[in-house]
């Protein structure tokens, strides 16, 4: 009970400070627990699926997704990550595909739109030179869960984004409201890479309830998740499962995380 109270206090303090921070800045998230979307197989009593309450250590997360301008600064310093020089094993053919060339964006593409068509390798390289890393899937989901605040709005925003016809480029970052931790655009602009995006990968038969970590990828084994009505969460896990580290996509960006 005591830890819960301090948890809320910290969250409120962060929330109050959030508007002053720019989108390139980081916010601190307190340690805490949350209910993960997917059931996991415990090491003991492995014949039944259960929800392992996610225990998350304190960490920092960037307020908004990395923008084109921010990523441009990175490729200026690190030419090996320019479009013409990136190694094919680190990024597929659509790496930075919507930029005009190595150092210019397409007409009308704003500096502060989230950068997309980025591979996991490129995203991780960007974070690493700043002494950071990608957030783990659990950290990212914990940040979105926002200690239970505003979850209806998260779903509404997600579904509205799904329903919106695909644009030639995403909207600019930082327009929407901050969540309780001071984070912006967690949903509604782009999907985001996570450090262990493939840890929840689909097994050979994606709808086999007994398959390894397969629970979220099916109609038949929908029993494997904590909230059957959370379609946007199914989408996030499916999207991650469809990716490989060198893949790039028009609707996938990223933000960095760091230890406290």
């Amino acid at each position: 009970m005591g830890s819960f109270a301090s948890f809320v206090t910290i969250a409120l303090l962060i929330s109050a400070n959030a508007p002053a921070a720019g989108s390139s800045e980081m916010v601190s998230l307190p340690a805490g627990t949350y209910t993960p979307f997917q059931r996991v197989k415990p090491v003991i009593a492995a014949d039944s699926l259960m929800f392992k309450p996610g225990e998350i250590a304190a960490f920092r997360l960037k307020i908004a997704p990395v923008t084109n301008a921010e990523f441009l600064a990175f490729v200026m310093e690190h030419p090996e990550w320019r479009r013409s020089r990136v190694k094919p094993i680190f990024a597929d053919a659509r790496y930075l595909a919507r930029w005009v060339d190595d150092l210019h964006f397409e007409d009308g593409m704003a500096n502060d739109e989230p950068v997309t068509n980025i591979s996991w390798f490129a995203a991780q390289a960007y974070c690493r030179v700043r002494g950071l890393r990608l957030p783990t899937t659990e950290e990212w989901e914990y940040a979105l869960a926002d200690a239970g605040r505003g979850q209806d709005e998260v779903r509404r925003t997600s579904l509205a984004w799904f329903a919106r016809p695909n644009a030639s480029h995403p909207d600019t970052v930082g327009k929407g409201a901050s969540n309780g931790y001071g984070l912006k655009d967690m949903v509604g602009l782009v999907w985001e890479w996570t450090l262990d995006f493939d840890a929840f990968a689909v097994s050979a038969e994606s709808r086999d309830p007994n398959g390894k970590n397969s629970a979220a990828f099916c109609g038949g084994a929908a029993a494997g998740v904590s909230d059957l009505s959370d379609y946007p969460a199914f989408m996030r896990y499916s999207m991650r499962a469809s990716l490989k580290a060198k893949y790039t996509s028009d609707n996938v960006g990223f933000r960095c995380a760091g230890d406290p």
Binding site: D92, R94, A97, R155, L159, A160, W161, F162, A163, R164, P165, N166, S168, W191, V202, S203, A204, E205, S206, R207, D208, A216, F217, C218, G219, A222, S229, Y231, F234, M235, Y237, S238, M239, A241, S242, L243, K244, Y247, T248, S249, D250, N251, V252
Partner: protein, 477 residues
């Protein structure tokens, strides 16, 4: 009792035989050598690819491009559909039993979502879904051998499956039996689906998917081929008299099972649930399960517009599940006559309208002004409901009596109409009417009075009709 035993014996013998045939067929199809390669001909509904003329198995290459695209759901209503090939339903795939299919699933780079494909025609994990989860901007390839003939649904099976399907990710694949299907004159592709929009049915603009309505199975739209009115008017299916029509019918769902019916046609043949081993005949309505199919065939003998519906009827009339088949040609009146007559139906068995009887002789008028006065009451009781208190009648239904050229031109015709009734096409004040007025069983005095009233009202010719005139005309008829 002994008869029952014999019957059961025959039944089980048939079952065993069928089982043997089925197993052999599957192994034959596995062993059937694959000769050559060709690209699949794919079509958008309601078109169907051409009949397969090959007499051997081949490798068929199928490219399905997944596109997330805004399209029309109903007039003024758009929706971001997720599609196999740009339209709902997805492309129709036609292959032959024994074929080896190389399936390419191409997820367009502009898409947001990962997608895959589960073909019910596949024997394999997830019907191909496990092998085809594909990120936007990527392609997956897998192959399968078509072992079982039939008409099969395919759909996206990426979680949440229900949402991918609700957004339109389904289509049909026909695995033609080696011996082919019976020859018909026309084939069409009709697939039902249910849609869950945030706005109520008819609410205008781009409508997002409504998760709560989907989970509650409360669709705003139930439609054929992806939109309300996809096959009506200029887009109606067509056929000619004497032709046999085959409908490849699917139901993508995600939830609603179809009571598939063509109003005014009996299906001569139904391959229920898309199976190719046993046709049934003379079927009125066939069930098409969500994630299932049916093939219906019927020879058309009568011209006209036939309405295709989900006979769970509020879906047809309130949610959009309605299409048209327009048939041209000369009809056979023996098969269907059309309307031969229309009369007022009197449960008493009389074609004559018996007006209220008072049991006493009606008061007799001694002059024209009394006649008008008495006639007004008779009009109010017997005529006003149709011809209205103003004498204006009702447009397209009941002709006007006010300033009526029909009335003023011929007094005898008017008397005859009231006494004997009037039926068929007439022209009054420049407008055509084609209805029925019953004969009125009223005393001659009353008929004289009411017609006199009408002639002296609303700018008519101020004539008088006497009971004697009524009697004369009654006797003549």
């Amino acid at each position: 009792m002994s008869i029952r035993v014999v019957g059961a014996g025959v039944l089980s013998a048939v079952t065993v035989l069928t089982g043997v045939a089925y197993a052999a067929s599957r192994q034959e199809n596995i062993d059937d050598p694959v000769v050559g390669v060709e690209d699949a001909v794919l079509t958008d509904a309601p078109a169907v690819p051409p009949v397969i003329r090959r007499d051997h198995a081949t490798k068929v290459v199928v490219h399905l491009e997944v596109k997330e695209e805004e399209g029309r759901l109903a007039d003024g209503v758009s929706y971001t559909f997720w599609t196999f090939g740009g339209k709902v339903p997805g492309k129709f795939i036609r292959i032959r039993e024994g074929d080896l299919v190389e399936m390419h699933l191409d997820n367009h780079p502009a898409n947001k979502m990962p997608h895959n494909i589960d073909l019910h025609a596949v024997n394999g994990p997830g019907g191909g879904a496990a092998a085809s989860l594909t990120a936007p901007g990527h392609s997956s390839v897998f192959s399968f051998k078509a072992l079982n003939p039939g008409l099969y649904v395919y759909h996206c099976a990426t979680a949440p499956v229900a949402m991918h399907v609700a957004n339109g990710m389904y289509g049909l694949i026909l695995v033609e039996p080696k011996e082919g299907l019976p020859k018909v004159d026309r084939e069409y592709y009709v697939m039902q689906g249910d849609f869950y929009t945030s706005g109520a049915n008819g609410e205008q603009g781009l409508q997002p998917f409504d998760m709560a309505k989907a989970i509650a199975e409360r669709p705003e739209y139930v439609v054929f081929n992806g939109s309300v009115g996809s096959m009506v008017g200029d887009k109606a299916l067509t056929a000619n008299i004497g032709e046999t029509v085959r409908l490849f019918v699917g139901d993508g769902g995600p939830n609603i099972v179809s009571s598939f019916h063509v109003i005014g046609e009996i299906f001569d043949t139904v391959w229920a649930e898309g199976n190719m081993s046993s046709a049934t005949h003379n079927v009125q309505t066939t069930t098409v399960p969500a994630g299932g199919s049916a093939i219906t065939e019927f020879k058309i003998s009568v011209p006209g517009t036939f309405i295709i519906v989900d006979h769970s009827l509020t879906r047809a009339f309130n949610r959009g599940a309605l299409a048209q088949l327009k048939v041209a040609g000369e009809g056979n009146k023996l098969v269907y006559s059309g309307k031969t007559s229309e009369e007022v139906y009197q449960p008493e068995g009389s074609g004559i309208r018996v007006a209220e009887q008072q049991g006493v002789a009606p008061p007799a008028a001694s002059n024209m002004s009394q006649r008008v006065e008495l006639g007004a009451g008779i009009f109010a009781n017997n005529c006003q409901a149709c011809h209205q208190a103003t004498g204006e009648g009702i447009a397209d239904a009941f002709p006007p009596l006010a300033k009526s050229d029909f009335l003023n031109a011929d007094k005898e015709r008017v008397i005859k109409s009231v006494v004997a009734g009037l039926q068929g096409k007439i022209r009054v004040n420049g407008k055509d009417f084609d209805g029925v007025m019953p004969a009125w069983k009223l005393p001659d005095e009353d008929i004289a009075n009411v017609i006199t009233f009408v002639y002296n009202a609303w700018g008519n010719s101020r004539q008088e009709v006497t009971p004697e005139e009524v009697k004369t005309i009654r006797q003549r008829n």
